[in-house]
Symmetry: C2
Subunit: 213 residues, 2 copies
Amino acid sequence: MSSTEVTSSDKLVLYTGFFSSPPSRKIVILLDELNVPYEKKTVALQNGEHFQPWFKEISPRSKVPVLVTPHLPQPLLESGAIHDHIIQRYDTDHKFSFAPGTPEEALQTQWLYFAAATMNSNQVAAYFFRVQVKADWEYVELQLASERKRLELGDAESVWLVGGRYSVADISVWAQLAFVDVMATVEWKTWGFKEVERWYEAILSRDGVKKGQ
Amino acid sequence: MSSTEVTSSDKLVLYTGFFSSPPSRKIVILLDELNVPYEKKTVALQNGEHFQPWFKEISPRSKVPVLVTPHLPQPLLESGAIHDHIIQRYDTDHKFSFAPGTPEEALQTQWLYFAAATMNSNQVAAYFFRVQVKADWEYVELQLASERKRLELGDAESVWLVGGRYSVADISVWAQLAFVDVMATVEWKTWGFKEVERWYEAILSRDGVKKGQ
């Protein structure tokens, strides 16, 4: 099946909050990049709707995002797991991901966990407790620089995180970084991370990303 | 290749801290359960060894765990990504995991992210800021109860998180819970989560788990 062929029985429903936090936004972007149709249902967190019994039936810990799909016997929680499921099912020709078992896929998985586990928890901590998160951006910068170095003999213009092309790895980390701008928690653009800025703008200009605002 | 056949060219090196935090411990357990030989190198975090140049070459953000393997061109960071790589390479007959593309694998991935992203960040927060983490154990309890219900027509004795058998999902979540006992942050055993206690003890009694202390 081609990545863009979705049958009419695929009725995906994605529950998100009233604005898109990074874990929700990265899913929306990936679905839009893949042209997978879905229904987005907004749960009014500001009114405590996530604590209502109907939503706790879907998400026992009252968390968003949650994906409801006819392909799984129960709602799927955890943004990283939702990303993984979408890749497996709808990106079978690996337009935005790397083939299982390849070194690039291991690196891709590293970035997916970096976004979901390391960056997200640091950002939540930064928001509530004003903890320093600069080290995370320095790491992204370092990786972008080393990726460029690795590719110098070939395509030196690449700024992508894995394998010299835009992928779900970039989407995941980008969504975390974009949220820094939304919340204005840290002024990362004053830090002089030129590689990160170039990468950030390259992704921001994509149609699938604009659509997934 | 059978899961337990490892060639002599497989020289895995796992860098961990001076004691095993959950992200390191779950990897050690999985390697021991699979009988994969590896060298464990302890980085003296208490002496700041992780900030020394030799270690930053391996782990730019000075984080453990890190896996160095001849099968990848660079060290692999993020405990969830390391788990995933080990499963793909050394659990090819799915003794401790579920086959890609199955509903069980989607649920397994959900639990891997739950452990690495949700539980770990909540536990770090609980340690530093005394944030409430009880909701996570309640969720595990709920899932174990619903798993038991689902299995009632078959094997009602199962307490495992996915598909009625012990897997990497259990290992990941268990390692997080075990750390609560190590740090004594919360007295979860007084909360009356009988299903969780039974599941916890069942895993604790396994040889592969005892070995990976």
